[in-house]
Amino acid sequence: MTEAGIYIITILISVVLGIILAYISSLRISSAKEKKNIKDDALTDLETPELESKDSFHSLLFKEINNVVGSSKKSKLITYKVGEIFEQTLKNKVDAVSSEISHKYENIIAEKTKNEEIAWGKYKEILNDKKETEAVIRSIAEGLVVVDAKGNVIMMNPAAEKLLGVPSKEKTGKSILEGLKEEQIVSLVKSNEREKNKEIELVSPNEETKKILRASSAVIEDEDGKPVGMVSVLSDITKQKELDRLKSNFVSSVTHELRTPLVAIEKSISLLLTESIPESQQREFLSIAQRNIKRLTNLINDLLDMSKLEAGKMSISCQLCSIVDVINEAVSGLKSWADTKSIEIKKIIEDNLPQINIDPNRIIQVLINLIGNAIKFTPNSGTITIEAKFISADNEIEVAVQDTGIGIPKEDLVHIFDKFFQIEGERIPTDISGSGIGLSVAKEIIKLHKGRIWAESEKGKGARFIFRLPLS
């Protein structure tokens, strides 16, 4: 190569570099105009800015440009401008990216917060639902027990605790019957695995109280239909059972009470019809028939009275009368019956008792019932005493019927006026059983008179039935 050749090449390279730099400058100006709105006169204003050697990037750039341009002043200016453009572009880029990232991040946070809020809301909702359900379970009167597949108690409500007599804490995780004292469970009968209703009979250790529970159970299944436990509803059916028992006793004793006189009537009449009977005997048979017809009539009247009382339809028609007359009339109707057992009926009646406004027929009915009971429960040759006196403090007349029978057990005294109640089993002392409604009818009649009736008894000292009627 010649010297001239090298020179030409050098000039060409310089020209090309010059064109490139000029192009870069024009690009920078237009982009600055577009983007950041940098002042157009920046080039003229900043003729010779002090190029602080900020970093290696600037000094490297200056060195390269200076090599080409050859003028330190121009190179500085170009380096500054190029650097500025570069920095600005970079900054813009970084800004854009970071703003995009922060926007995205904000969105994510916002979404997350929103989800959290929804979740919290739902949680609170569920918590409230749970509390509500628990409150419902707690407050229902029926006992609720949930057991798992092994038969261990998962939960029970306060009613169940009360019914089973065991606190929930002691039962949770244990079998439903565990912890109940052996003697408490009388029976778990009338049930098998398949049956949904069980009757559980519980007796307190001191045997004072007996409870009959009905357990209605349902199997809890998971989504696959596999049994995972059982929920049982316990209800106390003791009273219901007792009422059922009293009613069936009532039905059988009424049946007996109806049959017995019917048999006597039928038998005496058929003997009269078929046999040749001496006249004295005929009279006897006729009086048997008559007596039993009366007994039937009384029973039917009692039943009618009871149904009237139940319907609230019994009325009394009061008139001023003497209690002595009422007592005498009641006694006269029962004297022949008392005579058959050689029972003496004594009357201790205060002198000058005031007249009283009562329904005499109803009070006679009460007295017949009380005296009749006294005759039934008094052994032969006993005594029945009827007392009547005026209680001035209360302005009431008190009538008492006292017998010399075996008395009424203390535990039965409170029930004696209950419908269908009869003193049970071997305690029925003498020859006639009743329908179990006479005393409850008597009580209602006394109540209609705004009076009160009660019984007192000591074992072996007979029973005393007392009623009081207000004068006004």
């Binding site: 019917l262 006597a264 005496s268 003997l271 005997q281 048997i288 071997e426």
Partner: protein, 130 residues
Amino acid sequence: MEVEKKKNRILIVDDEKDFRELLKFWLESKGYEVIIAINGQDAIQKTKNQNLDLIFMDLHMPIMDGKETIKQIREFNKDIPIVVISAYIEDAKVKEAMEYNISGAFYKGEDFEKGLVLLETVLRRHRGLK
């Protein structure tokens, strides 16, 4: 039925006065000698002290019911025929009493005639066994 030379002696045990008097009259009119007991205790005493051929025993009695009375009688007399009396055919007590060697059951609603046939059958069978 031919009338026996020696009268059969029957004990009626029932707390219901009217019924036992009517049954007594009927049996007496048919030639039987009738003794009455008004409760279980009375019945046990009379079974011990009297020479009886048959007992009519009401099952429904207070204090000591018919079943208990029969049980106690069987402790000292395994042999005497006992016919139980009940007011109802469906009476569960009749079945319960069966375990103490009972010869038959008579229901109060049935005709006395039927009771008489039962009585005669039981007595005949009992004599046959002897």
